[in-house]
Symmetry: C2
């Protein structure tokens, strides 16, 4: 069974770079990655905030949050 | 042929978490990951700085630098 991972982003250049390189590097046999654009899916903002996401891009993996470089803070997306 | 990736860290808790979850998630069939402890391998500091690493933990992948959360700044390791 695959582990679910969630990648939160906002379409920013930093986000796109992280998505292309970092997500593309994950083992596809072990992870199902959901990509959530918080700029458009504003209904997911509360969920991201509850998980502890402070900025995007961020990857939630194994209940750990990894903020990858810095594109935008969550508060700027509200 | 595998792509080389380099993970720079300094043994900090944030670094260990990133190493365990994030590096463990990379596709082992496509990446050879070298783990460099900049707290002990101080001879690699200049190399990391030249690549553009500002803080650890950081993963260099496809010539992109991904600073993952924040453990320590490079200048604190000198």
């Amino acid at each position: 069974m695959k582990t679910k991972a969630v990648f939160y982003h906002a379409g920013c250049p930093v986000c796109v770079s992280a998505e292309q390189s970092m997500l593309g590097a994950l083992d596809p046999s072990r992870f199902d990655v959901e990509v959530v654009h918080l700029g458009t899916a504003k209904n997911r903002l509360a969920e991201a905030e509850t998980l502890g996401v402070k900025s995007v891009p961020a990857l939630v993996l194994d209940n750990h949050i990894f903020h990858i470089n810095f594109g935008a803070s969550l508060s700027d997306l509200k």
